[in-house]
Structure formats: structure tokens, C-alpha cells
Symmetry: none
Subunit: 200 residues, 4 copies
């Protein structure tokens, strides 16, 4: 993730990009069981090239996950100074769900838990999201007993919920995001039975 030793040659960079895109598509279509050969074919390169860019298949998966997390972090940072804290949090959740929807990769979440780069990226996201959550809570548009980790965990739910449908309408996740968001509002909130989780 941080500055690589030397910048990639132009064609190598292009290959890397194509591999990441191809992998995302293929994983979305066939799940993690998709083969490296499939991904290479989709990217239009030879199998060996995959391993030049990513030491193992797991590395490739971790890179995809990192990209997604980083994109979310960027979105959160961009919304940190927005005038309406409630709208900012909501916008973030829309972005998060929408990103997922394009390629359903929820199953990747858990996949590369051990990867240190993913861990760091996730920490960054927690920081950035924390700002949005704190501001929303302070503004009174979020229940006071909701933490950043709650929001982080619930972020995946709207899209995941629709995955139980064979061919879900593309915007259906908005319906469930609305329901969950209502559940996060202070109006009519009932006390929560369990303490919020803390991250390790």
C-alpha cells in the first residue's frame, strides 16, 4: 500500500489495474472459488502475470479489499466537513452500499482478515467514520448509544440483505438502508440490550 520501492512500468501498471478489475468482476460472478486462470483470462494476460503482481491469490483478494476500504475512507474524509452531519452520515452509507452493489463482494470482507495492509486500511476507515458518527450523534440525529463500530458493522447489511434474493432489484438496498437508518435515529428508540462491541 505505501510507496512501493520503484514505480511500475507503464504496461505493468496497466496490467495490475486490469487484473484488479477482472478479479473483482470474476469474484462477483463466481465467488472466491473462481480460479486464477479465469481472472487472468478475463484480464487478457497470462496466468504467470497474476503472480508477478500478486504473490498469492490471497494477496490479490486483499488488494481488492484494500481498494474498497480505501475508497470508503476517502468518501468519509470528504464528508467530514459537510454542513449537515445527519446527511453526511447518510450519504456515506449510501456510498458504502452502492459500492458494494456494483460488485457484490461482501464475502471478501472476512476473507483477508489476517492481512496487515487490510488491517491498516480498516483502521483508517474506522478513524474517518468515527468523525462522521460523532458529529451526527452530537447533532442529535443519531441515537446517543450508537458507536462508530455499530455503524461500521451495519454498513454492510443493506446490500447483504438483498443477496438472499436470486435477482434483486438494483436499488432495493435503499429500502433496507432506510429501515436500518430509522432504527439508528433517536426518535422512538428503545434501549439496546447489549453493549457496543469494541475493536481489538
Amino acid at each position: 500500500m505505501p510507496s512501493s520501492p520503484r514505480p511500475l512500468r507503464a504496461d505493468a501498471a496497466r496490467n495490475r489495474r486490469q487484473l484488479l478489475d477482472a478479479a473483482e468482476t470474476v469474484f462477483a460472478e463466481r465467488g472466491l472459488a473462481a480460479s486464477v486462470a479465469d481472472i487472468a483470462a478475463r484480464a487478457g494476460v497470462a496466468k504467470g502475470t497474476v503472480f508477478r503482481h500478486f504473490a498469492t491469490k490471497e494477496d490479490l483478494i486483499a488488494s481488492i479489499v484494500c481498494e474498497h476500504i480505501t475508497a470508503l475512507t476517502d468518501a468519509a474524509k470528504g464528508l467530514a466537513g459537510a454542513p449537515d452531519p445527519g446527511a453526511a452520515l447518510r450519504d456515506f452509507l449510501v456510498i458504502a452500499a452502492d459500492q458494494r452493489r456494483q460488485h457484490d463482494l461482501t464475502f471478501l470482507q472476512t476473507a483477508s482478515d489476517g492481512d496487515p495492509a487490510v488491517g491498516r486500511a480498516r483502521d483508517d476507515l474506522h478513524c474517518a467514520l468515527g468523525v462522521l458518527v460523532d458529529r451526527a450523534r452530537d447533532a442529535g440525529v443519531l441515537r446517543p448509544d450508537i458507536t462508530e463500530t455499530d455503524v461500521f458493522l451495519l454498513m454492510c447489511a443493506p446490500v447483504h440483505v438483498t443477496d438472499n434474493l436470486a435477482d434483486p432489484p438494483p436499488m432495493l438496498w435503499r429500502r433496507y438502508l432506510a429501515i436500518i437508518f430509522d432504527g439508528l435515529r433517536p426518535e422512538g428508540a428503545h434501549p439496546l440490550p447489549e453493549p457496543p462491541p469494541t475493536l481489538p
Copy 2:
């Protein structure tokens, strides 16, 4: 599921039960990629025995899914005549989440979509759950724009949400069930952006 042509011999029935239990455990631990050999070993039988009871690995998975769905259906039916419709729906969701929690098998949901027995079992569950949802809506404890399918889809969410944690507290799902349940209540509900999904 019940009343097969002839009842299994006692030892065969025991093996079948052990295989289903072992498979549930192993799938929960390692995902669907877990090998049949692992499952057989866990059940304490030879590899071939798995295939005597389940023609293919997919059959085994479908059988597990069927059992889970059927258990939910039974729970729903048992709650159909409960005096408090709101509590009944809530109890059902607790049972559903708790069943999931014991072995996280959310990924099995989508797995055996094509299996006809699973399809039938799922239809039954929709029927039984429909009764609970209708009663709760009629009693005014559920938003009027929520359908049975909404509840069905959201049912999986509380546990799934906690799966993003490496080692989630065993009761954490109750927290997210409470949040989602609040979102399903009529108090303070905001209009939903998308129409409810319909099943094929």
C-alpha cells in the same frame, strides 16, 4: 424430510445425524470449501459413508439448509396463536438469529437455491412467517409498509452483521436485532424509497 420410504436402520440414522451435525460445524468453521473428507472425519465415519447418505456434497448442504428452514417454520407456526403479536414476531426473530448464531451458516442461504426440497421448505416458511407479520401489522406494532418478504430478508441481518468481527460476543446480535426492530416500528418511521420485493 420425514417419512422416507422406509425408516433407516438405527445405526444408519445415527450416522446421518452425526454427519449433518459434523457438516454444520465444519462448514461454519471453514466455509463451503470444507472438504467432504473433513466432514467424514469429524463425524467419525469413512468418506464413502457421506455419499451413502447424501448423493453429492450439494445434497448434504441442501439437507442442512432444509433442516434450518424447517426449524424456523416450526417456530413460526408455534408462535402463530400467541396473544401478543408484537412479541410473537420479536420472539421469532430472536429464535431465527439464535439458530444462526450457533453455527454461522448464512452463506448456506444462497447455496442451495436450485434444490427443489429447499424451495418447498422456503415456501412453507414464507407462509408461516406471513401470518406473524400480518398479525403484527394489524396490531399496529409494525410499520404498515413492511411486508413478510422484508422481514424474511432482514431476519438474517443481525447475526451477519456481527460476522465482520473476528470474535463477536455471543449475544451481540441482540443489539443489532434491537436496532433493526426499532427501524421496523411505526413510531418515527420515515417513508421507504423502494417498493417491497416480490418473490418469484
Copy 3:
């Protein structure tokens, strides 16, 4: 084959007969790769019963081969005293080919070469066929340089030849038997390039 220690119980004898018939049919349909389970199912008995009657699958195959060879031996013996030696030999070849045609089991020939019972049965057949061949040769309807072994080997050819057709007309073998029989006649015979084979 020879007198068993004790005569089978009536139902056991029936099972044995059904197994042999079923095996013949199934082998003809699917080749030697057909499974013992298939044969048992076709015979309407349990798999274990197959092994009560035939110690191994090879034994079962050998028994079928024995039956076929014995039937041929009986036919040859029955024709040994026929008035027209040429017709007798010809009739024998027709019987041999026809027996094959009913269930194409040519591939079984080589299969149970090592079995001693098959070896004995084959020896008997060679004896009986030798009589027919000698008489035909003596009567001048067979080339003088043709031995019993030649006829024995050529016996399988007419049916086997038709096996290269996907769905051969049921009587086509008669055409090739006629051609080969013409080749065995003394009229217009050309000298043969190799000495006749001898049996071990």
C-alpha cells in the same frame, strides 16, 4: 461348475440364475465397467447377495463365460453325428454367432482367461469342435489346411465385425459369416502364409 458340495436351496438357485441373467444384460449394455450394484438392482436382489453367490466380480464374469462356452460345447456335441458334415459345421457357427448376438459379450472372452473353470470349459469346447472340423475337412467341404483352432478363433469374428457399427442390423453377422465361410471353403483357396496356431 461341477457338482457343488450341496445343492442350492430353491430360492438361492433362483437368485443365482437371475444374477447371471441380469449380469449378462447389464454387461452387454454397459461393458465390464458396469457395477455390481447395477447388476444386483437389475436382478432384484441386494448387493450382498451377489457376493454370496460369486466370491468376486471376476468370478461372476467367469461364470457367464463358462455358461456360454458350455452351451457351445453342447451344441457342437449335438451336431457331431449330423449326416452333412459341412452343414453341421455351418450350423455350429450360426449358433455361436447367434448366441453372441443376443448379448454382445465378446469382450468377456479375454476377461476371464486365468480362471481354471473357464480353461476346462474351453478345453471341452475345443474337443467337441475338433470333431466337427475334422469331419468337415474329411468330407472335403473345408480347406485341408484349416485346423480346429482356426475355426475356434474365427468363430467370434462375424459378430465382432458388426460391433463397429453404432446400431447394427440384427442379422448382419450372417453376411460376414457367409464371407468368412467362403474363405474357409476349398474352392478357389489360396495358400495360407502362416502356420496354424497351437494351443498351450
Copy 4:
């Protein structure tokens, strides 16, 4: 067979050749039941390499069959313009039998009936053989009621006949080819009982 999209790398071509040769040997020794592992071992390559060259075991078998058929077609074409039509047909049958003798693969004939490449190759052979047969018939060295298909079917017989012997003398097939060839001659021919088969 020839002119694949791109020519194989030198080592890959060598492996492919070795695999085909090894498969031929092993199939001749143990029949089609011989395992891919055995073939790989005989060829001195890893199991996976077999599947790099031949998508399935059936493909490998079909490739062998194709090679044999193509070799026969080439032989027939080479003999099409020979001065003596009778000798040409006879030479062809000698070549055909001899090719078979080196590795008895008669059982492969029927094996890959469904394969389109095999089908095409077989059609070509029928064409080329038809020329030889027609010329021989026109020259009066072949019975007038014999068709190309007759010769095609009988082509396999001389070697197959000798397979019923445990350890047949290597040239014994010449004896049976001579007998069958005599049966195909016009001298002393008796009328044939069945019409010649037609190909689909």
C-alpha cells in the same frame, strides 16, 4: 490434427507425443480402464500434464483413434493410384492389420464414437477406402456384392481374431487376413444372405 492455432513449444510438443505413445501402450496393456496416472507415469510426466494436453481422458482416447484412422486414410490415398487394384486393396489391409497389431487397440474403435473429430476422420477414411474398393471390384478381383463398408468392417477382424490367444504369434493375423481375403474373392463365391450395411 495439424495446424493448431499456434504451434506448440518444443517441449510441449514432445510431451504430447510421449503422452500419446504412452497412452497407446498402456491402453493396449490394460484396456481403457487404465488410469490417467499410469499413462502419465509411463510418459514420464506429472498427472496434471495429461490434462493440459487433453481436456479429458476421452479426449486423449479420441486423439489416439484419430491418429490411427488418419494413418489409414493416408495409406489408402497413397495406394489409390497403384497399378494393380487387387494388390492395392490387399496392401491396404496388410497395413491396417499391421498398425493394429503393434498395439491392439480394437476396443478403441467404438470408444470415441461421439467425438466429432473422430467422425470426420472416419468419413475421410471411408472416402479413401471407397476408391480402393471400387477399383478392385471393377478389376474383377473382388466379389461384385462387396461394398466399401464391408471391407471397412472386416478390416479389423484378422487381428481381433488372434486376440483370443493369450500370446499370439506376431504374424498370425496374416493367416486370417488370407482366409478372409479369399472369402472376398469372386472365385467360388456364394451369394450373401444380408444386404450390405449403410452408414448413417
